[in-house]
């Protein structure tokens, strides 16, 4: 494929390859304007921003309907963006959206201990059926309190389905905002968490629940 690659590189070819890079400012301007113009034209189905937090960089993705994904550092950005491209739309682009701006401000307040619940429009499309019911029940657990898997399964209408409830929580697309970290194993111990059990323990101690 790269037929003439290095075999016959003369001085001209070498200097052609060494062109000076455009200044970083040019690239930044293009990026910023692209997000703005693409957004204004309605070409972006999922906008996302990275947000620095005590847990590390959190990825916040949103559609027109609202916040659709909170990606924790342990999940890896590639995996989160890939999931959004596959399950929502490949038209994923960095850029702001009202719900993301609101979520970022509220996350800062939450991590400072100044906020106990989130008030952001949510897009639930990445979870459905019983799993969605479990997450909706989870969203009602108050700050600083915890529940067991069996309790959220019961609240979601299927008391025996605590394993399925565990799966729902393990695949929560909106961690922190939908506080699945407040659901604990009944035998003690914090249990699994999409963002790692350390992150879960940290959130619980922030809320004074651990």
């Amino acid at each position: 494929m790269n037929d003439t690659r290095d075999s016959d590189l003369g001085p001209v070819e070498r200097s052609l390859r060494k062109i000076e890079r455009p200044d970083a400012g040019a690239w930044e301007r293009v990026r910023r304007q692209l997000s703005e113009r693409a957004g204004a034209e309605g070409l972006v189905d999922v906008s996302f921003e990275r947000h620095d937090s005590p847990l590390g960089s959190i990825l916040l993705g949103a559609t027109d309907a609202g916040l659709v994904r909170v990606g924790l550092p342990a999940e890896g950005e590639d995996a989160v963006l890939g999931e959004l491209a596959e399950r929502v739309s490949p038209r994923v682009l960095a850029g702001s959206r009202d719900s993301v701006t609101r979520a970022r401000r509220q996350l800062d307040e939450y991590f400072e201990g100044a906020r106990r619940s989130f008030d952001v429009p949510l897009d639930w499309q990445l979870t459905r059926g019983f799993r969605r019911e479990v997450l909706r029940a989870t969203a009602l657990i108050p700050y600083g309190r915890t529940a067991s898997y069996r309790e959220v399964a019961t609240d979601a209408g299927r008391p025996g389905a605590f394993r399925a409830a565990g799966t729902a929580l393990a695949t929560n697309p909106l961690p922190i905002v939908v506080p699945c970290h407040r659901v604990l194993r009944s035998g003690g111990g914090v249990g699994d968490y999409r963002g790692g059990s350390q992150a879960k323990a940290r959130l619980l101690s922030l809320e004074g629940a651990a």
Partner: protein, 165 residues
């Protein structure tokens, strides 16, 4: 890294963000070589917007790169035309070609590339700024692989002559 390596699932489109990150910087250099550094940002901007408009219709992940360069090549032509039509202040009326600034500062060779005949300029730019293979260049220029190879070769020959002259 190619987009296939970054996204092994060939049938699924990667997030557009990754396309921008992966190919944007090289496309910006390509645009600069085609239309000059002053209009390079516009050229890239229009290219990426057009790409995003058509992105969901892309069927082959492996063809994304040459598809992007085809769009950029068309946008560059549009910008040339628009620029020729637009009324220009007097100080802009210097003769085209020799007096135009190089693609990016400090690179006299690239100003020579911009003086090459259209096909050679395209082919050399795609080859050395876009790092495209001859078959990708052929796709972008809608010609045969052989013709693409020839255009690169002829362009280089001419540049060598210029440089040694």
């Amino acid at each position: 890294m190619s987009i296939e390596a970054a996204h092994p699932a060939r049938d699924r489109l990667p997030p557009f963000e990754r396309v921008v990150e992966l190919y944007g910087p090289a496309l910006l250099r390509y645009c600069a070589a085609q239309v000059g550094s002053e209009r390079a940002e516009d050229c890239l901007q229009e290219t990426l917007l057009a790409a995003l408009r058509g992105y969901r219709r892309v069927r082959e992940v492996g063809a994304i790169r040459s598809w992007l360069y085809s769009i950029a090549a068309n946008k560059a032509v549009d910008l040339h035309r628009g620029h020729a039509r637009a009324p220009q202040p007097v100080e802009d009326l210097a003769p085209l070609g020799a007096s135009e600034e190089p693609a990016y500062r400090g690179d006299a060779l690239w100003s020579k590339v911009r003086e090459l005949p259209e096909k050679q300029r395209q082919a050399v730019t795609l080859r050395y700024l876009g790092d495209l293979s001859h078959s990708e260049i052929a796709d972008v220029m809608e010609t045969s692989q052989e013709a693409a190879r020839r255009s690169v070769f002829e362009g280089l020959k001419r540049l060598r002559k210029e440089v040694s002259a």
